[in-house]
């Protein structure tokens, strides 16, 4: 069990993330029991055997590496209640577009979780593109990280969280100097 941020609060979480070591391959790796987030490639390779387990127990989720794309999972997204996107480095911004696509193009409505190098100063942007859960880095204070979600009270442009840009939401006017 560890703490994560989900829907703006800190909660206990019992999902394990399966990461392959160098000797393991997506087609042959043993997927352990319990709630496990498997690499997308493992899902794609072992779909036939994992699908019945998923349908019966809902204890399988997938995670995207940053070089994957939402279309790699495509319509399977609707099978999952949880999908994660990995940030190998916080400065690798591909995960933002993966998240946006999962939400907008593939209409994913379940939990979308950022994992990996997930830090306070990126959370505001992450929640805007569709993430609602954050497994923040465990060597950092999660209470502090929570503050990152409220850095800004408004935004100019549309994204997943806010479908309308500022100019469609409000009557903008001149402030007299």
């Amino acid at each position: 069990m560890r703490e994560i941020i989900k829907d703006k609060t800190i909660v206990q979480d019992d999902w394990a993330v399966l990461r392959l070591n160098e000797e393991e391959t997506p087609d042959a790796v043993d997927v352990p029991g319990g709630k496990v987030i498997v690499p997308l490639k493992v899902w794609l390779e072992q779909r036939d055997s994992l699908l019945p387990r998923l349908k019966k127990q809902q204890d399988i989720a997938v995670w995207f590496s940053s070089d994957a794309q939402a279309k790699d999972l495509a319509d399977d997204v609707s099978l999952f209640s949880l999908i994660a996107v990995d940030f190998p480095k916080f400065s690798d911004g591909r995960g933002y577009s993966i998240a946006y696509h999962l939400r907008s193009r593939y209409a994913f409505t379940g939990e979308l979780r950022a994992i990996g190098d997930v830090l306070r100063d990126q959370l505001f942007y992450m929640q805007r593109v569709g993430f609602n859960a954050f497994a923040t880095r465990e060597d950092r204070n999660i209470q502090d990280a929570l503050k990152g979600l409220t850095d800004f009270s408004d935004s100019y442009q549309s994204s997943w969280d806010q479908k309308n840009p500022l100019f469609r939401r409000t009557e903008r006017s001149v402030v007299t100097p």
Partner: protein, 568 residues
């Protein structure tokens, strides 16, 4: 010009609070330097050789007199009494303390300014034509679109951690003065045959290690779709741009690798999903933003002013300044004035706090309290009555801002180089000063005529050397510094990348090298031919042959001048 409403103010206020806390956490070691780096960069703060450098956004180059006065204040209070205007129409201060930076942002916010996304791997400040709204050859004023895109790019959540920096330029005139072909996205506001307004969209231009001119991927994009279409471009780039090698990470490399046609097709497919969605620009919002860019209260004047004409015929120095530094205006009786920041002995683009205060006063008295920064690192007073030009010239001259050299060899574009920048391989400012010295004679300079000389202290090409008619690049070879020279580069409607003439030179040889190149031009030119025309007609061979024909003298500085040409 654009004014903030309560939403703009709120967003900037929250940004400062966020940044102040980031600085606090860095100083308390709650953030590692590696984690802090992209955060401070996206707020314009670089660590340089001697101190932090803070780059402040001047959106599409437009400034009010109060904003310029604030720069003067910052220069005095937090820096060493001067600032440096950049090729991206911004200003940077070179001697900033990290601890002061949140305070400086508070000061900037008071005049509706910020340093957001002036660095880092994100969408940068939008640049445009310094004569937007007043140019005689303007078709459509690009500034409302530039402001709309400024807001769209500001804190865009999806594109804050791109593979590399991303620069957008926008032009609305016949002549391209925004160097759009060397930007990641270059937009030209155009009208189609039905008279509808839209954009010609160019992508994949850039300088740096691999100079490439952009390719048009869409001839006409109706104006309503500018944000959704750009979103599609950025989404493709964010996912597919290379992240394994920073020198191959710009969008130009991606476009080149997959082909502009394939890239365009991917963009169209991505766009199809969001086209006509809520991010589509509305007539109402366009009108609202446009209302800030209305024409000022111009006086009704005759097309030419008798005293202005008289002063020109009686005063050769004034006439020279008019010829080079005064530009045509779309309103009768008005002109635009370029104040040169290329005075001999001063680093190109530098202005002192006193000069900034003075220029702010000038703009209050002569030009509706507004001014612009040019990508050639000069300042523009856009709306001056012709009858006031003589007085303005005399005042500007007294403050060292009337060097009559706009568009001439000494109106160089030059990066801060190795004197300040930790990326640079070589110094650029001392070389610029030595060359300026060599071409100090005005008659000689005028005889040479239009010539763009651009210099960068390293391959990052901040000094736009690739598109200089003469380009100089500082390179490091086994610990020694050399300068590589190219000719034939050009910006504007006939943009071209310059060709390297041969082996590089030492710093001391540079004035002589430039003089030899000029000699070939002067000997070979035919009537009314500009330098660039002669180079394009002849190719580089005659220049190359003459430059390398005999040993090249080396300029050596003696006494106080030795070693450092710049002193403050």
């Amino acid at each position: 010009m654009y004014r903030y409403d309560q939403h703009d103010h709120q967003i900037i206020k929250e940004r400062i609070a966020q940044y102040r806390d980031q600085v606090r956490r860095r100083l308390a070691n709650e953030l590692t330097e590696e984690e802090f780096l992209p955060l401070r960069l996206q707020n314009g703060l670089y660590h340089q050789r001697h101190a932090y450098m803070l780059r402040i956004a001047v959106p599409y180059g437009m400034l009010s007199s109060d904003q310029l006065r604030k720069f003067a204040f910052i220069a005095r209070e937090y820096d060493r009494g001067y600032g440096h205007f950049t090729t991206r129409q911004n200003i940077q201060f070179n001697w900033i303390n990290l601890e002061d930076s949140p305070e400086i942002l508070e000061e900037l916010a008071k005049v509706e300014m910020h340093a957001i996304q002036t660095s880092g791997n994100c969408m940068r400040n939008i640049t445009s034509d310094e004569f937007a709204g007043v140019a005689a050859d303007e078709l459509i004023d690009p500034r409302p679109y530039a402001e709309i895109l400024r807001q769209w790019t500001t804190f865009h959540p999806e594109f804050a951690y791109l593979p590399r920096k991303f620069k957008i330029a926008i032009n609305g005139s016949k002549e391209d003065r925004a160097a759009i072909a060397v930007h990641d996205i270059g937009l030209t506001v155009v009208q189609n045959t039905d008279g509808e307004v839209g954009f010609r969209v160019m992508v994949g231009g850039g300088m740096g290690r691999t100079p490439i001119l952009g390719t048009v991927i869409r001839e006409f994009l109706p104006w309503q779709h500018v944000m959704t279409y750009l979103e599609a471009i950025l989404r493709i780039y964010n996912q597919h741009g290379r992240r394994d090698n920073k020198y191959k990470a710009r969008i130009k490399i991606l476009v080149k690798a997959i082909g502009a046609d394939v890239f365009a097709q991917q963009v169209e497919e991505e766009w199809a999903e969001i086209k006509d969605g809520p991010a589509t620009l509305t007539e109402a919002e366009f009108k609202r933003v446009s209302s800030y860019f209305t024409t000022p209260a111009y006086a009704s004047l005759p097309a030419s002013d008798a005293t202005f004409e008289q002063h020109q015929s009686e005063n050769k120095a004034f006439a020279n300044w008019v010829r080079r530094n005064v530009k045509p205006h779309k309103v009768a009786g008005y002109a635009s004035v370029v104040l040169s920041l290329k005075k001999p002995g001063v680093p190109p683009g530098d202005a002192t706090a006193d000069q900034m205060d003075f220029v702010a006063d000038l703009s209050d008295r002569y030009s509706f309290s507004e001014l612009r920064v040019t990508h050639e690192q000069n300042l523009v007073l856009a709306d001056v009555q012709q009858s006031a030009l003589f007085d303005l010239w005399q005042e500007a001259k007294a403050h060292g801002l009337a060097t009559p050299n706009i568009g001439l060899l000494t109106d160089m574009i030059c990066c801060p180089g190795g004197d300040f920048c930790s990326l640079a391989n070589a110094k650029s400012i001392p070389i610029a000063l030595d060359i300026t010295d060599r071409f100090a004679d005005l008659d000689y300079l005028y005889d040479i005529g239009d010539l763009e000389l651009n210099m960068s202290g390293c391959i990052n090409a901040c000094g736009h050397h690739h598109i200089g008619n003469i380009g100089i690049l500082g390179v490091d070879k086994d610990g020694s510094v050399f300068y590589q020279v190219s000719i034939g580069g050009a910006q504007g409607n006939h943009s071209a990348i310059g060709k390297i003439i041969g082996p590089s030179f030492s710093a001391g040889q540079m004035p002589e090298v430039i003089e030899r190149i000029i000699k070939v031009y002067l000997d070979q030119r035919i009537t009314n031919e500009r330098f660039i025309d002669t180079v394009q007609r002849l190719g580089i061979t005659p220049f190359k042959e003459y430059v390398y024909a005999t040993p090249i003298n080396t300029l050596i500085h003696h006494g106080e001048d030795a070693g450092a040409a710049v002193a403050y």
